[in-house]
């Protein structure tokens, strides 16, 4: 028997596979037993009611998708009353994703959801923020540090910072989050993108632009996960385009302690339980007794460390 458990800071997970925020809900219980998962991660909520963005909210691009769901939210009251109790029936720890328009509102929500039944809080610092001209907190190290400092003070629960790929300063942002007390980094959210219908000449998304997710994002997210694992000492949770056990292994080898599966669940609702099985089988076949043995096992010659912190190509 292969040991699939991993430790994300103080939180032990029975396996490193969990859903990505916004691509998972109670509804998936219709398809398989959610207790199979390493963690449950909810869709981001805000304090108050939000409608979300105009439709169409998704569109297809070459082998991947764009979304501009926005963050429709029924508010924190509904969430605490209706959603948290649902997940209490499971053993799997619940991770609550939150966001706010301002750092203070964000911090208030953070303390409000620090309740029984919640194992960790994922802070989605990759969505637009009105105090920074609509830039996400996680675009700049300074705004990352400021908001994380406030969030850190607002809760004693483990705090996972979810980073954005829409930045040229990934390692610096990662270190800012670590310095401000993040317990883990979720790497990464979607990257801003666009598609236009050439027949109607209208953007394919009602919101003009949206986030790219799915296989196209994987090489970018993997690079970021690697950069974050090298730049910080806190656990990294890889996310972006993961749809197979091979993808999971790529992130673990790069240094991720666990991974989130997002868009792949839309295509194959059973992707996560299947990957968990295949991960155990792969590790067994390759003679590993614990998944921990592959984490960070990338062979990157030390002289190349300098390259790691570049944010440019070629």
């Amino acid at each position: 028997m292969v040991d699939l458990t991993v430790d994300v800071g103080s939180l032990r997970l029975k396996n490193p596979i969990m859903p990505a925020s916004g691509t998972f809900s109670e509804d998936l219980a219709d398809v398989f037993d959610l207790d199979l998962l390493g963690a449950h991660v909810t869709k981001t909520i805000t304090r108050g009611w939000r409608d979300g963005n105009p439709t169409p909210r998704v569109c297809e691009v070459s082998g991947s998708m764009l979304n501009s769901i926005g963050i429709p939210s029924k508010g924190v009251g509904y969430f605490i009353e209706r959603v948290i109790p649902f997940y209490k029936r499971y053993e799997t720890p619940l991770v609550v994703s939150i966001s706010g328009n301002t750092a203070d509102e964000f911090a208030t929500l953070c303390s409000e959801v620090s309740v029984d039944g919640v194992a960790a809080i994922e802070v989605n610092i990759s969505c637009p923020n009105i105090e920074e001209d609509g830039k996400a907190f996680a675009i700049r190290p300074s705004s990352t540090f400021d908001v994380m400092t406030k969030l850190r003070k607002a809760t004693h629960l483990p705090l996972w910072a979810k980073l954005t790929p829409n930045t040229g300063e990934t390692p610096e942002v990662a270190r800012a989050a670590e310095d401000a007390g993040a317990d883990a980094l979720v790497v990464a959210n979607t990257i801003l993108a666009m598609a236009i219908d050439i027949n109607t000449r209208r953007p394919k998304l009602g919101n003009l632009m949206g986030g790219l997710s799915g296989p196209s994002l994987k090489p970018i997210a993997l690079r970021m996960a690697y950069q974050c694992a090298r730049a910080t000492k806190i656990p990294v949770i890889g996310c972006g385009g993961i749809s197979s056990v091979e993808d999971v292994l790529e992130f673990l080898i790069a240094g991720a302690t666990a991974v989130q599966v997002g868009t792949a669940t839309f295509i194959h609702p059973l992707a996560m339980p299947r990957i968990i099985d295949e991960l155990a089988a792969w590790l067994a076949r390759h003679g590993y007794s614990s998944v921990k043995d592959v984490i960070g096992s990338v062979i990157d010659d030390e002289q190349k460390a300098g390259v790691v912190f570049m944010e440019a190509a070629p």
Binding site: T23, E26, D27, L28, V31, D51, R57, C59, S62, N67
Partner: protein, 281 residues
């Protein structure tokens, strides 16, 4: 299952009731210039969960140079637990449906379902009237089967561009439905004519419920007539979908609920909605 999927009850449904399965194709043929019918071999446990108005989310294959990525929602056109068959009726419109059209007998198709909330037929509804246009008939067909099973009277008003694209007339008739066809070609499909036909039905036979899908003009008409005569109704709606399960919130449409406008998910709270709550678009 249907109960479990009803609005508000979602949270109680933690036993797996939705299936992801590779099904074998029995046939996949052109039924007229625009539509194709696909017949799949399906397990009884899956077919027994099906209800009229529900849909499946199909993983269209990468074939013929088409590379669809997301699944495509398709209404259940027919489900036959005894025969072990699941039917779809589809129009080839883009990448996904073009890819579907490439499949042949013996190939497999991965399906997810049944999904969503189907049509209601209340115990005291005796005369049901459905008004459908184009591929909307695919969605309403199993309702006729169900009405037949329950021994209710059904009038199907089928609207189309011209006679040769009138779908399923034969099918509705075979189930003992009264079929009225109206076409653009004959100039009989105008809203005014439809209204006259329906008012006639109400006056002569009485109508207990309306069912429709798709057309905005027909929705407005039925809302108006329904309100006037206090006849309830349901409409099946479409919206772009990613997950099909209720997780992503991409498939919302606005509905009137107790003086507020709320967004509901077509894949979860729908695709069948109360006709008066639906908002023309």
């Amino acid at each position: 299952m249907n109960a479990a999927l009803k609005l508000g009850d979602v949270r109680e449904a933690i036993k797996p009731v939705v299936f992801e399965r590779d099904l074998q194709i029995i046939s996949n043929v052109q039924v007229n210039g625009e539509y194709r019918q696909m017949v799949l071999k399906a397990p009884r446990e899956m077919l027994e969960q099906c209800r009229a108005g529900q849909f499946f989310h199909l993983l269209c294959p990468q074939l013929g140079g088409e590379n669809p990525y997301l699944r495509r929602p398709m209404s259940i056109y027919g489900f036959y637990p005894d025969k072990g068959e699941l039917h779809f009726l589809y129009k080839v419109t883009g990448e996904g449906t073009r890819a579907l059209a490439h499949l042949g007998a013996g190939d497999t198709l991965n399906v997810l379902g049944p999904l969503g909330r189907g049509f209601t037929i209340a115990d005291n509804w005796q005369h049901l009237v459905l008004v459908a246009r184009g591929v909307g008939l695919a969605t309403l067909a199993p309702l006729a089967l169900e009405a037949n099973r329950l021994g209710r009277k059904l009038t199907a008003i089928c609207s189309a561009r011209s006679d040769d694209v009138l779908m399923s007339v034969h099918y509705f008739r075979s189930l003992g439905a009264n079929v009225v066809t109206v076409t653009d070609a004959e100039g009989t499909s105008s809203i005014e004519n439809l209204e006259a036909i329906i008012e006639g039905l109400i006056a002569e036979e009485g109508v207990d419920a309306f069912y429709t899908c798709g057309s905005n003009r027909i929705l407005r008409l039925l809302q108006r007539i329904g309100e006037k005569h206090e006849i309830p109704g349901e409409i099946a709606l479409e919206q772009q979908m990613a997950c099909g399960l209720g997780m992503c919130h991409c498939c919302v449409r606005p509905f009137r609920k107790e003086d507020r406008v709320v967004n509901l998910r077509v894949c979860r709270e729908g695709p069948v909605f109360d006709m008066q709550e639906a908002m023309p678009w």
